[in-house]
Symmetry: D2
Subunit: 164 residues, 4 copies
């Protein structure tokens, strides 16, 4: 628990969705993650890299490999990935296969971070703690719980992640 | 990482401060922690016990022993304690001495949870993750970092916790 | 300025939009207006009637006549109408033609009320004041300004209402 | 209702209170009113002048005369004054005596604007509408209602303003 730098890779997802009146629609925008970290008064060294701005249903295998590449090439060994919830477990599998020796925690939100009521801040806090203290491996922090990233699924109807 | 119940002991502190116009003053009120957990969509079994409503500068040694007693007697082995920040490290020392074999994480906030901008949700998320996955011991989750509860101090002027 | 009851008619629009993860889409839901009035500590007698839950681009002439009918038949002479912004001026014209002798103020929001940052509360406050103190007629309160409801248009590109 | 400039004079009060951990106390800080107006997407020309940062119980007669002087000397004829609630009616009396021919609306909040739940935005919206459309005179906009500034009192126990 000596102080250690955290890398945050953002990929889009509900956590970064905003609403645009001019379009009457909802879009993923420039990541709000740096603002969330400032609000949380994070004093650790953190580097935030915005990799893509996609709904996770639109992520391709090439996108997942790009996330894995960014995690693998980075100097940091503690990595948080913000991600849409629908295919978060698929990216977890790619990360587990492609990035050995690092502690990676994926998280996201069921309600956008820009909402007055949202799970975004809590989830990001879980991911920060997990990336710092868990043994190397891939984890998913959602629904108040830290899961093994290879043993979890999203129960879409129930609106939560559950262990498998 | 099988699903495990979390015990949350609340003791007061800035995280639970509210403002009362009728008194023109700021007071600690009934804990907002259950509302925060609902907003965070926590699906784990959680039991919240409101132990006291005190500014941490007012906590006595007897209070700290009461917190330790509640943690020790509880059936849960994973414990989160919400606490004022000024004497959080003193309570950590009492917990480390009095409660063997459990994973306990203290947290709080520099800005009240009722504020639009606050570190409360993020910190509570860190504490939940730490209580679940860290080895038995006492931890403090503040300023974006998970600290050994016996090797940390609050730097009041800088407004953050730092390792010692 | 004796105390007078206010009627609030809700029709949907961005002000009442929410995001549903299970659908990965944004929908208009049960009106949040009563919660907003409680948060604003409104002590006047208020009656809220949810007339419809529509994006204003979907409102038909029959819908507008229904809003006018509800305003006309009501015992209250001071009326607030929450409404999507895209066709707010069209409903204003129908209200001006169909509801004589009442003070009616339409308002809405460019950012949903459920967002942490939103114009919803401010706009609703403007509409409440206007409905109470303006002479009989139809008004639109948006962009920080109270407009004659027949002499205003939405400048969609600029994201604001402007007098014409 | 041609577009007209609004002058906002800030004097402090609960609406601008913040909490400082380093002091473990609550203080009035640099006014958050400009941020509120931006969030409300106010497009009218507005000039905000921070006159003082006081709890309204600390305001002296000289302070009230300074507020009146600032309102009287300003080029704008539509004035909003943000103010603590406890002596808001006293300042209203001074303004009514000292500033003829302008429309002035005082407002404030029972809950600080920095809170997640607050009446600040709604009240400021009421004041903006009142300053624009009411005849010259002094008004107080609180508790969802626009009052004659000389015929209202704060019912502290009930937590609301009532007509007298």
């Amino acid at each position: 628990m000596t102080q250690q730098a955290i890398l945050v890779l953002t990929t889009g997802g509900t956590i970064d969705k905003n609403y645009f009146d001019a379009l009457s629609e909802y879009q993923i925008v420039d990541s709000g993650i740096p603002a969330l970290l400032q609000e949380a008064r994070v004093a650790l060294p953190v580097r935030v890299v915005e990799l893509m701005r996609k709904d996770s249903l639109e992520l391709t295998e090439a996108d997942r490999l790009a996330v894995a590449g960014a995690a693998r090439e980075a100097p940091e060994t503690h990595v948080v990935v913000t991600h849409g919830t629908d295919t978060m477990t698929e990216t977890a599998r790619v990360l587990a296969a492609e990035v050995p020796g690092k502690t990676i925690c994926l998280t996201g939100a069921l309600s956008p971070a820009r909402f007055a009521e949202t799970d975004a801040h809590f989830n990001l806090g879980m991911a920060f703690a997990t990336a710092q203290i868990a043994p190397p491996g891939v984890y998913i922090a959602m629904s108040g719980e830290v899961f093994d990233g290879l043993k979890v699924r999203k129960d879409r109807a129930a609106g939560k992640f559950v262990a498998i």
